[in-house]
């Protein structure tokens, strides 16, 4: 066995582009995922800035309404499927094998394919701007029957979603198998770092709901082109059925975008509080409860479709319940900080930013969950504010935190702390300028997905647009910090963070070797 292994290494590895195209190494693939995600963040971000530019003032200035709708739609799709999800898979690729003491992922070739499907999907999404009829414009939620109108671009979206689904499912299977089968001897489930736990649970969510989304868009495809009537009442179908199927996917999907973030934050806070994570077991149970509950709350996105009152009540109660396990997490993080010995390097700043701002987003989520209130704010900017608090200052901040946290391990260099802190402060401030006013806009009556609005909304939209541009520009700092750390800088020790205690810090040098653990680490 040893011999074979050595033999495999004897081969010259391809270099240049071929290295990246053919790699089966979890770190290479993790890097690919992360860079892809960043490029998509910029792409989706530029679309967001075009949206904000159009909304800077009332009246139509920058784009036509149809193009505006396309920008909104593709901004949503690209951020969700192109930026946030791949970033977390990138983290999983880098960190899971190191954290559980494995040499690599369980299925290295499959891993490569999971990644290389993403650019295909990206081509199908971004290419839409260049096809006759223009890009898809029905919202990232793709509601029938609006989605049945429209041209080629809609079909490109359908196939992009299929391909993204295949990628996510294969990625999830890979992660589950790695975690269940590749742990070093002695690494029991309840000893795994929380990040690994959250990803295990996320992966289960993925294989449970991505196929359902695939089914939903397949029905759209056959309704569009092959004469079926899933969503056409004249044929006995129901447009609302699409929403049920979509949100059965969609709600777990939003937790897919937040559970790994919880995991990252749960690694970072103890490291900088120099104190073990408070309530490890309850963190695991809370994560699992959130995941399980996420399957029975989907119709809170549909409080205005006119479903039976009893269904409204059920979905309201179920949704509110999610506040309990999420609260447990927040309290545990605070208790971890309590009486610690804290320092505030960039990862910790982003983690604290995450906990506070995510909680605001969680609270507004709770406000949305209250059905009568949601009747007023459904499809308004209040909802837009809610989900950017949980997605940008939630998921995205956690991604930043994680990148700063692990950059020393990944590159072998310390990042520039001053620039990192600047990035945090600018991001946090501009983020709030951009998104806090959206609560006001929504409450005061501005609906979402519109290119133009009444004069009463002008002030806050202007504020918000300024914040958005500031936030966008601040991300260039992030790029600079990362590039700097890759190029060089202060050499990082194996364990640059005093309180960090997972295997990648305690058992591996910085930068981590190409194959993480050729022989499994010995655990006490």
């Amino acid at each position: 066995m040893e011999a074979t292994h050595a033999h495999e290494h004897g081969h010259a590895h391809p270099t240049g582009l071929m290295r990246w195209l053919t790699t089966t190494n979890h770190k290479d693939i993790g890097t690919l995922y992360l860079w892809f995600s960043f490029i998509m963040l910029l792409t989706g971000g530029v679309m967001a800035l075009l949206i904000r530019a159009e909304l800077f003032q009332p009246g139509l200035q920058v784009v036509e309404p149809e193009v505006f709708n396309s920008l909104t739609t593709l901004h949503g799709l690209i951020m969700v499927f192109g930026a946030i999800m791949p970033a977390f898979v990138g983290f999983a690729n880098w960190q899971v094998p190191m954290m559980i003491g494995a040499p690599d992922m369980a299925f290295p070739r499959l891993n490569n394919w999971s990644f290389w499907l993403l650019p295909v999907a990206a081509v199908l999404l971004i290419g839409q701007f260049f096809v006759p009829g223009g890009a898809v414009a029905g919202g990232w939620t793709m509601y029938a029957p609006l989605f049945l109108q429209g041209g080629i671009a809609n079909d490109m979206t359908i196939f992009a979603v299929h391909i993204l689904g295949i990628s996510s499912i294969m990625g999830a299977i890979n992660i589950i198998t790695t975690i269940l089968n590749m742990r070093a001897p002695g690494m029991t489930l309840m000893k795994m770092p929380l990040f690994v736990w959250t990803w295990l649970i996320t992966a289960y969510l993925l294989i449970a709901v991505m196929p359902v989304l695939a089914g939903a868009v397949t029905m759209l495809l056959t309704d569009r082109h092959f004469g079926t009537h899933f969503f056409n009442p004249a044929g006995g179908g129901d447009p609302v059925m699409f929403q049920h199927i979509f949100w059965f996917f969609g709600h777990p999907e939003v937790y897919i975008m937040i559970l790994p973030a919880f995991g990252i934050i749960s690694q970072i806070i103890p490291a900088f509080a120099r104190k073990p994570l408070f309530g490890y077991a309850s963190m695991v149970y809370a994560t699992a409860s959130i995941a399980i509950l996420s399957f029975i709350v989907w119709a809170h996105h549909m409080f205005t479709v006119g479903m039976p009152t009893s269904a409204q009540l059920f979905f309201m109660y179920a949704t509110m319940l999610i506040a309990v396990p999420t609260g447990v997490k927040v309290f545990n993080w605070v208790a971890t900080m309590w009486r610690g010995s804290m320092t505030f390097e960039t990862p910790m700043l982003f983690a604290i930013g995450f906990v506070s701002l995510f909680t605001i987003g969680g609270f507004t989520g709770l406000v949305c969950a209250i059905t009568p209130v949601d009747i007023q704010i459904q499809d308004t900017y209040y909802v837009v504010a809610h989900f950017h608090y949980v997605l940008v200052s939630g998921a995205l901040f956690a991604i930043f935190a994680g990148v700063y946290f692990w950059l020393p391990k990944w590159t072998g260099h310390m990042y520039d702390e001053k620039l990192g802190k600047l990035h945090f402060w600018l991001s946090a401030i501009f983020f709030n300028i951009a998104f806090f006013p959206m609560h006001f806009l929504g409450l005061a009556g501005m609906q979402r997905r519109v290119p133009d609005y009444n004069l009463q909304f002008a002030d806050w939209n202007m504020v918000s647009s300024i914040g958005a541009f500031g936030f966008g520009l601040s991300q260039l700092i992030f790029l600079a910090v990362v590039l700097k750390a890759i190029k060089g800088g202060v050499k990082a020790e194996a364990k640059p963070w005093e309180g960090a205690d997972s295997l990648e810090w305690t058992h591996l040098p910085s930068p981590a070797p190409y194959h993480s653990f050729e022989t499994p680490p010995v655990l006490k």
Partner: protein, 295 residues
Amino acid sequence: MSEHQGGYYLPQPSGWPIVGSVALLLFASGMVLWANRLPGGWLVLAGLAVLFYMMFGWFGRVIEESESGKYNDQVDRSFRWGMTWFIFSEVMFFAAFFGALFYLRVLAVPWLGSGETGAMLWPGYTPSWPTAGPLGPSLAGVDTEVPPGSNQFSSMGAWGIPALNTLILLTSGLTVTIAHWGLKKNNRTQLVVWLFLTICLGLLFLGLQSYEYVHAYTRMGLTLGAGAYGATFFMLTGFHGLHVTIGTVMLIVIWLRALKGHFTPERHFAFEAVSWYWHFVDVVWLLLFVFVYAL
């Protein structure tokens, strides 16, 4: 865990995945063009061709590695987990369509024919199942060749071909198990013969299913465009049929491998994976039989 010591097989860089990505790009582009009646539909075939090329190459490589003893028990376990969760994801795919069936049948169709919805929008429509909806297949529109006004279709009965097919699939579940026993006893003849029988049953099922489809389209007015019933009927049975086809191809592959002398009584994950898949297809069919045909 002694075999763990550096023994987990880590493949070298591989070009197959990227070939697969190209395949899917071609396939998706082709489908988009074809569905919109634009030139370039041949790309679908090109995509499929490249995909098959990729599968041959990739799986061929895996088989080679497996036969040359590179996989230890831990790798074997990985494959088992992988296959299990893959099948689970397939289950969820079918769940979406079963969900659509239940939703339409239990909720949407009764709504259409009752209350204000029925009175104001669809007067005269009596909800029932099967149904083609208030306007039926006549509105199928531009994309199908359903003769307008043919509101009539008959639903597929359960006790003819479908019942026979149930019997066939159940039997095939048995034959594949007998083949497995043969493999475990190292009785190669039993393995090869019963596997062959399983394949025949799979093909027989597909033949009957195709006959049923042709019959539905030409004689019964039952098409994809036949409203809620037609859509759920064909999408559910169609995707099931696709899975039977894939399953049969996989059975043929392991049959050929068995003929070549692959698999040992102890190590034959590929065989087991295919038989799991086959049982999964079987169970889906039972659900279909009950919910689509019988009830």
